[in-house]
Amino acid sequence: MATAAGTIAAPTTESVVWSWITTVDHKRIGALYGVTAFIFFLIGGVEALLIRTQLAVPNGTVIDAQLYNQLFTMHALTMIFLAIMPLGAAFFNYMVPLMIGARDVAFPRLNALSYWIFLFGGLVLTSSFFFGGAPDTGWFAYQPISSSQFAGSGMDFYVIGLMILGISSLAAALNFAVTIINLRAPGMTMMRLPVFIWMTFIVMFLLILALPVLTVALIQMLFDRQFTTSFFLPDGGGDPILWQHLFWVFGHPEVYILILPAMGVVSEVLPTFSRKPLFGYAAIVFAGIAIGFLGWAVWSHHMFTTGLGAVQQAVFSASTMAIGIPTGIKVFNWLATMWGGSIRFTTAMYFAIAFVAMFTIGGISGVMHASPPVDQQQQDTYFIVAHIHYVLVGGALFGVFSGLYYWWPKMTGRLLGETLGKWNFWLMFAGLNIAFFPMHFLGVSGMPRRIYTYDPNLGWDFWNLVATVGAFILALGVLFFIINVFKTQQREPDAGDNPWDAPTLEWATTSPPPEHDFDVIPEVHSREPVWYMRDHNMTTPDPEPGTHIHLPPPSYYPIIIAFGVLLLGLGPLSHLAVTALGVPVIIYGIWGWTLEPTE
């Protein structure tokens, strides 16, 4: 194969490490996302446990205020940007091509690039602990507390880290939007797409439209901190509220970016284990689209205490309550899916049912503070902490775990142990409720968020101790998951192609799937293609002899460009010359990428 001058030939060696570094296979990239995100998830979990240990008793002395501020900020950033979002990415990387009947994503190398940029961004953000302290102003970095006057170099890591992660998400979002539009198998019309794919599709558009707003806010913050502007600094005529607007215009769609993939997973798991098609498919899809649209019209409900004015408060209050309607439609459709089904209580199903229940609790407390007077009472109290953890742990994270138990046999060929799985579930379920339900009481009795300690005799002692115990039970549940994974991986693969008798296309190929996903691209006749084939006694056709399946070769360029992006970002953190070095690396990478033969 001829290679253009000055470029690197595609790797041909069989070295394991290099084959993973240069891979463009969506399943391997999905696995990389999953493992990396799970490690970040554990880091975020340790941060949470340190926070809860400090708060277990009044006047705690485990950590000081400075470190406490860094920990709660990094806990939020880690869980949102480095755990839940990429865990969703792991699923849609692995599953989208399989579920729509494609051999890979539209741009396989771009997919690898997204992963490597994500990894480098996550490392930049986390490394801030070792270079003068992590960001410590909350994940929303309100101004002017996060200006160079008040906040240290941690905030520069925040700006750069989030920008790098934004590039990664944007590239992934473009890639998967195009994949879902263009690479569907014959007969897979939009209204036959699995709901998980629909929710992914909506999330991609939310990412594409929300990230540039965050990028602009970050750029302005970077200029404020490094180049003497004062966009957000009142002393120089700037407007701190502008930051809040820009941040939440991104920040609220971000909430749906976190929860919609979990809703998609649950919409796959519930029908499979109820042995019934999903109730109200079209209603769920359109409710998802409605959430995607309404998500743009509610950002100011994070800012009711900034004095927006009566009309604005009324409008944002009404639009926030309106989001309860499509969410309610989904909840009732999930319940109706289970109604009258012959339900199998597997661990995946447990997590899915718990998702519906816990997400409803979180959703209802969310609608409560859609009302400005109520919100002004609850703002910055533990009530809000309880709300976000019910939707993010009980919602997004339970969705992720449901998906892990559901798709593990497809990804590895092995069924995760059910006994350990039930332990895993019940510990996490109990831990969640013991840790976060008391926070409602704490919030109503006036305990503010983000305080590193509190005096005794304020009536907060008991519930704080309970919450800490709950947090450790939750962590124990996660430990059981890890044990389960290790025990499962020691067994022989025994799952078979379709252990759950599930209806969607990914179960029509082997477990784990071959590198090319499908020997023959299947033809789709219904919303439940695998059930359709079962009921019509159809078998997957054998490939015609001599057909060549074209697969993209592995490539070095994704990691080269990602390294260039890393240099670009490290400039403002060290010396601008590093940025200057990054530009030629990126240009070289793009050139090599373009000239690289893909046949």
Partner: protein, 214 residues
């Protein structure tokens, strides 16, 4: 590419929104366009060092007592020229795409080069404008006007520069033996979409910043 441009719309939308939010709050020179201001207020600002001597030279006593008139900093005839250059580059781009799609490589190469050159001339105008504004006392830290103006137009300029790099890469690649491969029309058209988008954004910026008076 279409989806990516949707993302870019929100990027520039946010920057333009920032500019508009701060536009009403400019109370000291340099102003974007001709503005009347109380002389006493101006003198106080000069005395306290809030604005530089250079910037205060933009203002002089008007016919009305106690009121100064300050020249606007925007040079609309000059920027109209650069806008015209950028618009013409879009025409050149259309011709390059036509050449690529109709298998006329010489035509494509010529108009790609023309598009690039016009883009570079536009960037030259922008460098000149930035320099002049800097000499007249408008910098990133002078005022919110300076900050939002330079960040917005600076990022637009960066987009133009990236566009020039893309076109240059296409042009270089087209001199290979294989040319632009099997689908030159698609590649040049995609680059063209980006170029036209950057051009359209400039039309919005030119209208909102320069033409609509304060």
């Amino acid at each position: 590419m279409w989806i990516f441009l949707g993302s870019e719309c929100l990027f520039f939308g946010s920057l333009i929104a920032t500019y508009l939010i701060f536009k009403g709050e400019i109370d000291l020179p340099p102003f974007p366009s001709e503005t009347f201001i109380e002389t006493a207020y101006l003198e106080e600002a000069v005395a306290s060092g809030e604005i530089t001597e250079v910037a205060s030279h933009l203002c002089h006593e008007s016919s009305e007592a106690g009121i100064s008139v300050c020249e606007g900093i925007f040079d609309i005839p000059l920027t109209s020229q650069s806008t015209f250059v950028l618009l013409m580059s879009s025409v050149a781009m259309v011709l390059a795409v036509y050449g690529a799609q109709h298998n006329r490589p010489m035509m494509m190469k010529f108009w790609l080069l023309a598009t690039m050159l016009l883009g570079v001339i536009f960037l030259g105008y922008q460098v000149y404008e930035f320099r002049t504004f800097g000499q007249e006392g408008l910098t990133l830290e002078t005022s919110q006007f300076g900050a939002s103006f330079f960040v917005l137009t600076g990022f637009h300029g960066t987009h133009v520069a990236v566009g020039v790099l893309i076109l240059g890469s296409l042009l270089l690649a087209s001199f290979r033996r294989r040319g632009l491969g099997s689908e030159p029309g698609f590649q040049v058209e995609t680059a063209g979409l980006y170029w036209h988008f950057v051009d359209i954004v400039w039309i919005v910026i030119f209208t909102v910043l320069y033409l609509i008076p304060a």
